[in-house]
């Protein structure tokens, strides 16, 4: 947790090549965003890319709280939702008053909406950190979500507020009717917000946020008030979450109370934590994965949320650094050239671990379809299983039990191989 986003600068190499590599990564990412819709140009993939872009901005904003400042919030969607409502109201106002504000500027107003609420509520909520902050953020989330159904004139009740993005003044002749143009708008804001949030991690403010996360008492001794630092971080996170909400409002042309709710707050926590909070690219990975799974799994199974829960529990228990943490663990081994000694044990472990995973999936699907009265066969990698047949139950049980015990042996082998490789890496001076 302590090396947040600083690994690039502390690593070896001369400053010039280091700079080149750093800007290269950003340039490649930007070019990839531009080229992506040309490679995958179908309507559904454009929609997916747009959703993923919004999720990345949202998850990065959440990581300002969780990863950088150590504040676990269960109500971050409040700012996302209020940003969405602010953007919708702004779009409608622009249309009805005929203001000369084109659509690409709208997410900024979403951000200001998220920021405004964060500034109002933030001072109370950031008084305490840790568990108490988590509980209060949950309470605030519930408060806003429930209030949104009472204040009908602002939030539009159950139906929400609708808007029309094409009615706004055009810019460079773009109407923003087609999804492709919306995608580029989202990609533009994604790059802008990502650069801003990355820059934030490198400022003294970003560093003092890390200090507040790690040791608030010492921060007090060097003359900063942790409460103020937490408040500023909370406001900035609210601002960027509002931008994400504004982008979502543009994308869907609607804002409703589901934007603000506990489910949205939970999803962004899942995405950020699964991706990994200690590295800047962690939430990006997490947002891509979670959105992709969400879109992909809903078609395949009725209990996709359960898989999310299981993946999340697995990450919390076995890899609290998330996917990014797992990947970056291998960095010193790659540099020391000892990665090749670990890989065979990985390959051996894949088979029983995959068998265990298949067994768990089979058990879940069997229960879900058996009790749901759904007689459809379970299609697992092309093999059909009948959920009411005892054969399926036996296969599932064998896969789970045998898979678990064999997998545990192979995991132990990985640990041993890892220890050996890490020792060599340490001897060569690549691992502290």
């Amino acid at each position: 947790m302590t090396t947040a986003a600083s690994s690039t600068s502390s690593a070896g190499g001369t400053p010039a090549t280091e700079n080149l590599r750093f800007y290269g990564v950003w340039l490649i990412a930007t070019i990839a965003l531009i080229v992506l819709p040309m490679v995958f140009s179908s309507g559904s993939s454009l929609t997916s890319f747009s959703l993923i872009g919004i999720a990345i901005v949202f998850a990065l904003s959440y990581n300002i709280l969780l990863g950088q400042t150590g504040l676990l919030s269960f109500g971050h969607a409040v700012h996302y939702g209020l940003g969405g409502f602010a953007a919708c109201h702004m779009m409608n106002a622009v249309v009805s008053h005929g203001w000369p504000i084109p659509l690409p500027f709208i997410p900024l107003f979403g951000g200001l909406g998220g920021l405004a609420f964060a500034m109002v509520i933030g001072w109370v909520i950031t008084k305490r950190a840790g568990t108490v902050f988590a509980m209060i953020s949950l309470g605030i989330g519930e408060l806003v979500a429930s209030s949104s159904l009472i204040l009908r004139s602002v939030f539009g009740g159950e139906a929400g507020i609708t808007t029309d993005r094409t009615a706004l003044p055009h810019m460079f002749g773009w109407t923003f009717g087609p999804q492709l143009q919306v995608y580029y708008l989202i990609a533009f804001w994604l790059v802008l917000a990502a650069i801003a949030m990355y820059a934030l991690t490198r400022t003294p403010l970003g560093r003092i946020c890390n200090a507040v996360r790690d040791n608030p008492e010492r921060v007090q001794f060097i003359g900063y008030d942790p409460h103020v630092v937490r408040y500023i971080a909370y406001c900035l996170a609210g601002f960027f979450a509002g931008i994400a909400g504004g982008l979502a409002a543009i994308n869907f042309e609607i804002a409703n109370s589901a934007y603000l709710g506990a489910i949205q707050s939970g999803l962004v926590l899942f995405a950020t934590f699964i991706g990994g909070t200690a590295y800047f690219f962690g939430p990006i990975l997490g947002a891509i994965l979670v959105t992709y799974l969400q879109l992909g799994l809903t078609n395949l199974t009725s209990v996709w949320q359960l898989y999310f829960g299981i993946i999340f529990i697995g990450i919390v228990m076995f890899s609290p650094g998330g996917i990014a943490g797992l990947l970056m663990m291998h960095r010193p081994l790659v540099r020391a050239g000892t990665l090749s000694t670990v890989i065979p044990s990985y390959l051996v472990a894949i088979v029983p671990t995959a068998a265990l995973a298949c067994g768990v999936i089979l058990v879940i699907e069997t229960i879900a379809r058996y009790s749901g009265g759904d007689g459809n066969p379970i299609n697992l990698f092309g093999i059909a299983f009948n959920p009411v047949s005892p054969v399926t139950w036996v296969v599932a049980a064998v896969l789970v039990v045998v898979g678990f015990f064999v997998a545990r042996l192979t995991w132990r082998r990985i640990a041993e191989a890892w220890d050996r490789a890490a020792t060599v890496a340490r001897d060569r001076g690549y691992l502290a």
Binding site: M135, L143, S146, L151, S153, M317
Partner: protein
Amino acid sequence: MSELIVISTLNGVLFGMLLFLLSSGLTVIFSIMGVLNFAHASFYMLGAFFGFQLTKWIGFWPALVLAPLLVGAIGMAVERYGLRNTHKHGHVAELLLTFGLAFAIEEIVSMIWGKSPLDYRVPALLDFPAFTVFSTNYPPYKIFMLAVSIVIFVALLIVLKRTRVGLIVQAALTHPHMVAHLGHNVGQVFMLVFGVGTALAGLAGVIAGPALVTQSDMAASLGPILFVVIVFGGLGSLPGAFIASLAIGLIQTFAVALNGSLASAFGPLDPSTGPSVLSDIWNVTIAQVAPIIPYVLLVLILIVRPMGLMGTRES
């Protein structure tokens, strides 16, 4: 009016005692282990669903005993195989683990029992009109619920104040490290406390199931209120949790029963102004506001007294 007051007071105390069955376990778990069990309301839900299923198989009375034991066993397994391994990653990781667990339990419950409310009936023995308060029949099942919660409350009090285990638990409330230094098996105390806490939540679920709605979203709707109760009462304070439970139980019950709004008190607004935030607030009834009252109280107490009503510890 007096009828409303009597009935609402009874119902409010009942809801408050039910909240205390949950919040007492949550408070003790938090004080001793430092873990805020996000899944506590999920164990309550498991209690209700196990109670329903066991009632169908073996009848209500055996279910009343078995279901909480089952829930407690699951709780102990969660502590032993989940939380104990996560402990080294810190309290945030533990909180996240219970968060994931709450999510998974809700999904599993709705996967097995479906998303619609279950037909979890009051046992036949208690299904008759007990007595009439003014013109309302008061069901004996509610009296039974009240009795069970009071018995548990008294039992908890005796165990905490009069037994050796209670002494250790009390000591661990304020000086967790000292208790460990004195050579008590902290791991075992943790597991026991977690098991008993979740079993109490399960018991609350079994008895609340027939009276309230047994549905897969019952944990998600009660959980946030539970956290309000323990933050409001002061984290780690049992008397605080008791007072906060009763207060929030009574406030919510009375709010739901009252139908007044600012419009009915001061007359309607000028209709020519059209819909606005002001008219929304003016016309909303107290009953409609009831769900948000606990959260408003939470914000107020944090402004006035950040450590909660009876809290002494800062975090």
